[in-house]
Assembly symmetry: C2
Homo-oligomer: 249 residues x 2
């Protein structure tokens, strides 16, 4: 499994991902799920991937190979990030249908994957999309600023409480890290290192800030300890369930 999220802020876009892949308990590996495509002064696009690793790798590889060829649409030539999202969707469906079949020895193979793709192209606003396994996509909005793929449930409650479009970038990165770290605690198929990137609106730089937190990174150790203590304190300070709360029996 995997857990990745993208957050569309007024000031830019935050991307955050874990790095664990597993194909059964004997095959647990570390792969970065964050892929940046940067063309100075023209566009800065980041992809996060979840799902079947062979499928997502084949999509990313094709995106890279396209840049050397004469394809009509590439991650470099799309006019909008949504064009690139459409193209990623096409590649994804093609990769899935190559390996999945309804009959034969591989029937039932789940070769599906999903992507978060976002960034900015010169002259346009920043854009953030979630590409579904079927190839279609949805956009983030000011009412729903974050998009998640993979093992999304454990880390959702904290996002629901904290995240808004006008949240400050540092706060959003911190919240994304807490969301991924809490998921790692509750689910063994999500694991370190955590990568977190902030792209600043209109900068057209690769990133404004990027951190990669290994399991023993001092900041991750510090924020884990602090969050655990703070949550316990937050819980202890809740009003007690006294007699007056009881229902008539």
């Amino acid at each position: 499994m995997t857990y990745c999220l993208g957050i569309a802020l007024t000031e830019g876009i935050v991307f955050c991902s874990d790095s664990r892949t597993n194909a059964g308990p004997d095959r647990v590996n570390t792969y970065s799920k964050m892929h940046s495509f940067f063309f100075e002064g023209d566009r800065s696009i980041t992809l996060l991937s979840a799902g079947n690793l062979a499928t997502s790798q084949s999509v990313i590889a094709k995106l890279n190979r396209d840049l050397e060829g004469a394809e009509s649409i590439t991650i470099r030539s799309g006019k909008y990030v949504s064009d690139v999202a459409d193209y990623v969707g096409e590649l994804l469906v093609a990769a899935r249908s190559r390996y999945a079949s309804e009959e034969g020895p591989d029937a039932g193979l789940d070769a599906s994957a999903s992507f978060i793709i976002g960034g900015q192209i010169a002259g346009q606003d920043p854009e953030l999309y979630l590409v579904y396994p079927e190839g279609n996509h949805i956009a983030a909005s000011s009412a729903q600023p974050y998009l998640q793929i993979g093992e999304t449930k454990y880390g959702k409650p904290i996002l629901d409480r904290i995240m808004q479009a006008d949240t400050q970038p540092e706060t959003a990165m911190r919240c994304a890290i807490v969301s991924v770290d809490s998921t790692m605690r509750s689910n063994a198929t999500v694991g370190p290192p955590i990568e977190c990137l902030f792209y600043r609106r209109d900068s057209l730089l690769k990133w404004d800030k990027y951190v990669r937190l290994d399991d023993d990174h001092p900041y991750l150790t510090k924020i884990r300890k602090s969050w655990d203590e703070n949550i316990k304190k937050a819980f202890d300070q809740l009003p007690a369930l006294d007699q007056s709360s009881e229902a008539p029996v």
Copy 2:
């Protein structure tokens, strides 16, 4: 969907459940998922149910009808709570196989359900089990004091942080309510009222404490507001992601 949990404490057992059922967005209803079987001085057993409502209702109805007949095993005659859990598992498999078929117009119907069952029988220790849709069951343990069924993920992180076998009953009830309420916030198929019951070890009473919290219950309103404020404060007090956290690029 549904979210129910049971917690095996040193001092007794906490049961907590939501009350929403849905069969599509047009058929959202309120049903209690908490069923108590109490025979004074002899046994106090509580069931929580999740999954297909027709299946779980047929199991509960059969348990009640058995009490009037001459069945060899009933919820009244089992020597251990685990005997009752075995019996519930049998009824569950029978109910599922009555409606699910591999062929015909209802092929693919998911008639599965699961149960949490716990309590105490005179002369025995309290017991707490999770009965899987396949009819088998697992017990809670001191290392894993809580068991969940239904929509379990959103509410798990807070349990992982707070819940231990020696947690006080009031604290455990409060934590269960927070866990269910957080789930209601993140998932529309889990809804009020929240029922929470504490059975005290060796009391052989129906319950030591029982609350039923409707959406506008003063305690639920109070704990929701307080939890939201406390979580935000807990988050604000985390160490900031400063320059020194950045990875070499």
